[in-house]
């Protein structure tokens, strides 16, 4: 169906957006003081993309250093800082803002609301997050380290005690790390509270919980998880700050404090955090796969149940990061089994996505390409995850490159791929311009090739015993070739990211107009113009099924008849 005939005239406001007046300074002011969920969402995303480039650049420096044995491309101190900053950046300054940015932009539109439940708190959350990121990176200039020479944090992103105590980490670099995570954590908790209140209280008429798009369901789950995962991190960081500034002894082994307490507190946050990041990726797949398979999602209630199940189970798996610490065998067994259990709802999801594609009229536009690659890669990542969650296997491979390869498979192969798909899918809605398909295909194939070169082959040096976080290694251990391949793959991924970034900028100025509904989709965000006006919908929509736009386009055969 062509866009111009979309029968959504009653909701859509097709008055062309007014001329933008004022100097560029006025416009900057407009963005800084805005409480519009769409503008805040876009600011989150831009912020995340900038840090994607920064964190990616740090990763490339690390890979250059590791490409050949006995390399001295960067100094060991810089190496430690870079992998600490790479991890912290990618999780807290790229991942979290990215998922919250998409939630900000999409959740109110998808449930037919005018804005988030608390628009000003929304702006506050964003600026807290932004402050956290700036503070962390300011440490490069301001964080006086050992003998006035150091700068950025170098205690790794999981920052095990007692390395972070005053006695071992002098100067202020660790303080920058702890404080910036506390600050951005407050922003994240604020955003989660906001998403929950929006979802439960701001839905348009007829949008019952079981008519919400799956993306909204997943964000509801994720927000609930954020409340109980980011908070422990905040608490642990407060303890660390108390130790460092007030002379406390929480993690001070000299005074009876136990470093293992930090490990537990950190991973109580750290493992659910992975699911906090990956569930939004699932959310995007849930929207993209049905639209490009031209079928309604298979097993909607099972998908909702599986999401909530993942959310719950993931809270009880954290100590599979700690098998080598020396827990009792009962504890080991518990965490092996609970981790295995996560595979069940995850498997349900994978089968439902395949069933959605099965027999569909699949269109392989760029968003769908990314989501299809996600399916295969996420499956593989899950399989190595089950291997690593088996205690004896873990004893062998803990802290090796096998672990790095596994979690990058999840973080890049699943999360980054889905979010790139999400950008290609919703960019037309956000800007009113289509992203270039040819560049999109280039970025996709470059990314697939680079990704598999890097992370498939990274498993092997891990199996051969290469530990993580090492500065360099000796030749002749059988790691050399693999590391070279991995580094080349990383460069290709870097190029793919640049192609994507170029596409974003170029299409903003030169892309063809998108129209309100370029993909012939079914959820409410496509029922308003692109980009949507500040008030979203000219009149409050009323829905009768999970696919309100399908009902509109096909009044002879509405979904509401079958639900």
């Amino acid at each position: 169906m062509a866009d111009s005939t979309l029968p959504i005239g009653s909701v859509i406001d097709l008055t062309p957006p007014g001329q933008v007046y004022g100097t560029w300074l006025d416009q900057v002011h407009d963005w800084v003081v805005t409480v519009d969920h769409k503008k805040i969402g876009i600011m989150y995303m831009v912020y995340a993309l900038i840090f994607l480039l920064v964190g990616g650049f740090e990763a490339l420096l690390l890979r250059v250093q590791l490409a050949v044995p006995h390399n001295n491309f960067i100094s060991p101190e810089v190496f430690n800082r870079l992998f600490t900053m790479h991890g912290t950046t990618m999780v807290f300054l790229m991942g979290m803002p990215l998922i919250i940015g998409f939630a900000n932009y999409l959740v109110p539109l998808m449930i037919g609301a005018r804005d988030m439940a608390f628009p000003r708190m929304n702006a506050f959350s964003f600026w807290m997050t932004a402050l956290g990121g700036l503070m962390l990176y300011y440490s490069f200039i301001g964080g006086v380290g050992l003998q006035g020479a150091g700068s950025a944090p170098d205690v790794t992103w999981w920052a095990y005690a007692p390395l972070t105590e005053r006695a071992f980490s002098r100067g202020h670099s660790t303080d920058y790390w702890a404080l910036s995570l506390i600050v951005s954590g407050f922003g994240t908790i604020g955003a989660a509270v906001n998403i929950i209140a929006t979802t439960l209280c701001m839905r348009c008429k007829g949008m019952t919980l079981f008519r919400m798009p799956l993306l909204v369901w997943l964000y509801l789950t994720v927000s609930g998880m954020i409340l109980v995962t980011i908070s422990p991190l905040t608490a642990a960081q407060i303890m660390l700050v108390i130790d460092r500034y007030l002379g406390g002894h929480f993690f001070d082994s000299q005074a009876g404090g136990a470093p293992i307490v930090w490990m537990h507190f950190f991973w109580v946050f750290g493992h659910p955090e992975v699911y906090v990041l990956v569930l939004p990726a699932f959310a995007i797949a849930n929207e993209v796969i049905p639209v490009f398979s031209r079928k309604a999602i298979f097993g909607y209630p099972a998908m909702v149940a599986a999401s909530c199940g993942i959310g719950l189970i993931s809270l009880s798996v954290w100590a599979h990061h700690m098998f080598t610490v020396g827990m009792t065998s009962a504890q080991n067994a518990f965490f092996v089994l609970s981790t295995g259990l996560v595979g069940v709802p995850t498997g349900i999801k994978i089968f439902n996505w395949i069933a959605t594609m099965w027999g569909g009229k699949i269109r392989f536009a760029t968003p769908m390409l990314f989501c299809t690659a996600f399916l295969a890669q996420f499956l593989f990542a899950g399989l190595t995850g089950i291997m690593l969650s088996t205690a004896p296997w873990n004893w062998q491979l803990h802290n090796s490159y096998f672990v790095i390869a596994h979690f990058h498979y999840v973080l890049v192969g699943a999360i980054v791929f889905c979010f790139l798909g999400g950008f290609y899918y919703w960019y037309p809605k956000m800007t009113g311009k289509m992203l270039d398909e040819r560049l999109g295909k280039w970025s996709f194939w470059l990314f697939v090739i680079g990704f598999h070169m890097t992370f498939d082959f990274m498993h092997i040096p891990g199996l051969l015993g290469m530990p993580r976080s090492i500065y360099t290694y000796e030749p002749g251990r059988g790691w050399d070739t693999w590391n070279m391949i991995v580094s080349i793959g990383a460069m290709i991924q870097g190029i793919a990211t640049l192609v994507f970034a170029y596409n974003l900028v170029r299409s903003y100025f030169k892309g063809p107009d998108a129209g309100p509904d370029p993909w012939d989709a079914w959820t409410l965000e496509w029922a308003t113009s692109s980009p949507p006006p500040a008030y979203n919908f000219a009149s409050e929509p009323v829905v009768n099924s999970r696919r309100p736009l399908w009902d509109l386009k096909h009044p002879e055969d509405p979904d509401s008849r079958y639900e």
Binding site: F118, P232, H249, A255, P558
Partner: protein, 200 residues
């Protein structure tokens, strides 16, 4: 196309449509997050009971703050009475019970201050003395900081109310505030049990 006049609505337009108040939902969500923070501090406290390698130990210096506890817990009751008065637009009763709530909260805070003064100057226990000091001041201090935040909000409401700016139309908002206050009280029950009963 002939369907262009169909609005994005069919039968549902006349159905009842009610959703929970977003303030209440947000406060409950915030309470969940706060509970998680307190849980971590409580777990640390329990884990470190008896692990201090130097004195003073809890049994030597801690006294049961019974009066404080009674004051704080009864403030939960008085704020509830104040809320009921507000719903009936009995502004005099509302102001009275609200003031009593504030006073009870302030007594609790003052009691904590006196307790800390005794611990610091008489018993020589500071946050850096030993593990007990670290965990005790962190947990009780975290709770006390929540009492301070709560009291600030209660006082703000009181100022508005005395200026005549509060009426029964605000009862929903004040219910959200009292939810927070009930939470602060409930947390004290846990802190009290852990610090003064289990830990002593």
């Amino acid at each position: 196309m002939s369907t262009s006049t169909i609005p994005l609505a069919h039968g549902a337009a006349n159905e009842e449509w009610s959703q929970p108040y977003h303030g209440t939902v947000a406060m409950l969500a915030l309470i969940v997050a706060e509970t998680a923070i307190f849980t971590i501090f409580v777990v640390a406290y329990i884990y470190y009971i008896g692990k201090s390698i130097s004195g003073p130990q809890p049994r030597q210096v801690l006294e049961l703050p019974i009066f404080n506890t009674v004051c704080l817990l009864s403030s939960s009751f008085t704020i509830w009475i104040a809320e009921r008065a507000l719903k009936k637009s009995a502004m005099g009763a509302f102001n009275l019970w609200w003031v009593i709530t504030v006073v009870l909260g302030a007594i609790f805070l003052g009691g904590t201050a006196l307790e800390w003064k005794k611990l610091i100057y008489h018993d020589g226990l500071t946050i850096s003395t030993n593990l007990f000091g670290t965990t005790y001041y962190s947990l009780v201090g975290l709770h006390a900081s929540h009492v301070i935040i709560g009291l600030t909000m209660l006082l703000t409401v009181l100022i508005f109310s005395l200026a005549g700016k509060i009426n029964h139309g605000h009862s929903r908002q004040l219910e959200v505030l009292s939810l927070y206050w009930h939470f602060v009280d409930a947390v004290w029950v846990v802190v009290f049990s852990v610090v003064y009963i289990i830990g002593r």
